[in-house]
């Protein structure tokens, strides 16, 4: 991030704001079990961080996920969620029954399972927010 952004205001805002948003997103994600927060909120924060980058730097910004990749990423994020559920089936339980995931330490199985799906949700929400933003702001809408 060492390129000039055009104006000092944008430059400062970007440089100081985005890292905090990203860190806050990570905090919200990881701390979701004990305080308000969770995957959606974190995903929204990440998405906003990237959208800010887009707003400031335009299409070719450095902190970027291009539209096509975002769609794929959104699918993969939800896939992580579903896959964790499917993993529970492979380990002999019902869908999303975290208690059977025997490779995890016993007391934290549920917590870690929740964390896993929250990560999936985060990725999906972030990617989708970018996708929608990207699709809506495209100039060349073909009709």
């Amino acid at each position: 991030m060492n390129r000039d952004f055009g104006s000092i205001v944008l430059d400062t805002a970007f440089r100081y704001l985005v890292p905090f948003i990203l860190v806050y997103g990570v905090y919200v994600l990881l701390h979701g079990e004990e305080s308000p927060g969770g995957g959606f909120q974190a995903g929204a924060l990440f998405g906003i961080a990237i959208i800010i980058a887009r707003l400031v730097q335009g299409e070719k910004c450095e902190l970027n996920i291009p539209g096509n990749a975002a769609v794929v990423l959104g699918g993969l994020g939800t896939f992580i969620f579903g896959f964790i559920g499917l993993l529970c089936i492979f380990f002999g339980g019902n869908f999303l029954e975290y208690g059977v995931l025997s490779f995890l330490p016993e007391p934290q199985r549920h917590t870690l399972g929740i964390l896993g799906i929250e990560i999936g949700v985060t990725i999906c929400v972030m990617a989708t927010i970018i996708t929608i933003y990207d699709a809506l702001t495209r100039r060349e809408v073909s009709l």
Binding site: N68, L76, G82, N94
Partner: protein, 494 residues
């Protein structure tokens, strides 16, 4: 894995839908086969679940292994398993059909289309097997959103139609959710089975009446019951043919099925309030049957005609619910099956004709029988079934409906059904006349083995469904007595 059929039924198509974008990005050709594989697994799961249910009674599948009122459960009885099988089967058939329309598109379009298509299937499957009223809403929205997208991809007119559908559909969804809210407020539960127990002592409460009417409006909009059908004709007319075949086939039917679930399993039709509401539904349905049929006669566009005919046919199902005795309900459930297959077949034929000749206008169907003999053969079977000529499937749903209506002395319903089949005859025989009897000007090159009338992947689904109509008609007794009957209220399910 056998114990996991209910989960696999939903999860496999869902996860496939999620990875399809990346597969499409990597290998465009593979998408279609992977989607097909997922739907085949869904079909197998549905069959497995159906067998299991028929042998061992209602199947409760608990997600996360939490006990029902706290966690979410799937309740699979013969009816819902049958519905799941119907949905996944039609989904598979239409997927095979849609190949021709998408071959030329780029990876993004193919990927997105198949993703949405599978998501629509997932949403509908989730709606029929779920045992939780809020989970139902979630899947309702999945199916609705993907349906909006699929409809809107049909062109600039379709976008307007889809937007109007979105507005009305979301109102329906919100009404449904408000109804759920009222139920939750007075019972404190979201599980259908638990709700059914806890709502019974409260049936006289006005809050229940609100909930009932809100759910009626919500489901009525989704199933295009008569005064709430405004979104349907435009959407069905302008949507792409491959998508609308599936949407028309099952989407309204799933809402009708949900309505059946609510009125007969949760609220219980024995209640006085519900009996009145059912009479209201019946009145709307009777009007809808006549209005839909008459409007269908007035159309010159084949798809629009089919759309209005859908309104009439869905009203048959509502009429069966309103009749409410065993035969009426059998008729309603059987008509869900029949109409799904008939209407899907007809829309596939419409798409085929469009693909071959570029025409949707009925007046331009002249000499179609020589251009596309096999397709028109399937059309005749489907049309006769819509009219209700034995031994096609449509006759037997009519048979059960009239049987139920006469048993309860509801003569207006009988009149509506009889009148409607005559009106159906008018608009379907008009097309048959056009296609078979009128002589066109130019010489037509009839289809030959070398130059078939339609690509193989389009012809097979049409013919499979056409034959399916006959088979369901002739062998309706096993379907009714060995599957549906156990799913009806008090039907002797173990």
């Amino acid at each position: 894995m056998r114990e996991q059929y209910p989960a696999l039924l939903i999860i496999v198509p869902l996860l496939t839908a999620l990875v399809i974008p990346i597969i499409a990005y990597l290998v465009k050709r593979l998408v279609r086969w992977i989607a097909m594989g997922a739907l085949i697994i869904a079909n197998i799961s549905a069959i497995g679940a159906l067998m299991h249910v028929l042998n061992q009674g209602v199947w409760h599948y608990r997600f996360g292994n939490w006990m029902p009122p706290w966690g979410i459960e799937y309740v699979i009885d013969p009816l819902s398993a049958g519905m799941a099988l119907l949905i996944s089967f039609i989904s598979l058939v239409v997927l095979i059909y849609s190949d021709v329309f998408l071959k030329e598109e780029g990876w993004l379009k193919i990927g997105m289309y198949h993703t949405l298509y599978l998501l629509l299937t997932v949403g509908l499957l989730g709606m029929v097997v779920t045992g939780d009223v809020f989970n139902f809403y979630v899947f309702l929205e999945i199916s609705s959103l993907s349906a909006y997208g699929l409809i809107a991809s049909g062109g600039s007119k379709a976008v307007v139609a889809a937007f109007r559908y979105l507005l009305i559909g979301t109102i329906g969804g919100s009404c449904y959710l408000l109804g759920v809210g009222y139920l939750y407020a007075i019972t404190g539960t979201l599980n259908m089975g638990d709700l059914a127990v806890r709502v019974q002592p409260l049936m006289d409460s006005p809050a229940v009446i609100v909930a009932v009417s809100m759910i009626l409006v919500g489901m009525g909009i989704k199933m295009a019951l008569f005064p709430m059908h405004g979104w349907l004709p435009d959407s069905y007319t302008y949507a792409p043919p491959h998508a609308i075949s599936f949407i028309s086939g099952v989407m309204t039917k799933v809402a009708a099925y949900a309505m059946f679930r609510y009125f007969y399993f949760i609220f219980g039709a024995a209640n006085e309030t519900i009996a009145i509401v059912l009479q209201v539904i019946g009145a709307f349905a009777a009007i809808g049957i006549i209005v839909g049929s008459i409007m269908a006669i007035a159309q010159s566009d084949f798809r629009r005609m089919l759309a209005y005919s859908s309104i009439a046919q869905v009203s048959y199902i509502a009429l069966g619910l309103a009749i409410g005795n065993m035969y009426g309900l059998i008729g309603a459930m059987f008509h869900i099956l029949n109409h799904a297959i008939m209407k899907c077949c007809l829309f596939l034929i419409a798409g085929g004709i469009k693909w071959k000749t570029g025409e949707y206008k009925i007046a331009k169907f002249i000499e179609m029988s020589r251009k596309m003999p096999k397709t028109m053969g399937a059309f005749i079977i489907a049309a006769l079934s819509m009219v209700g000529i034995p031994p096609t499937a449509g006759f037997f749903s009519k048979w059960y409906l009239v049987l139920g209506a006469i048993e309860k002395n509801m003569w207006i319903y009988v009149a509506a059904i009889v009148l409607s089949s005559l009106l159906n005859a008018i608009y379907f025989f008009r097309i048959i006349e056009n296609a078979y009897l009128k002589k066109g000007q130019e010489d037509i090159v009839p289809a030959s083995p070398k130059k078939p009338e339609l690509p193989f992947s389009m012809l097979v689904p049409i013919i499979v469904l056409g034959i399916g109509i006959l088979i369901i008609g002739i062998f309706n007794e096993p379907i009714v007595c060995q599957v549906m009957q156990y799913g009806l209220p008090g039907g002797g399910m173990r």
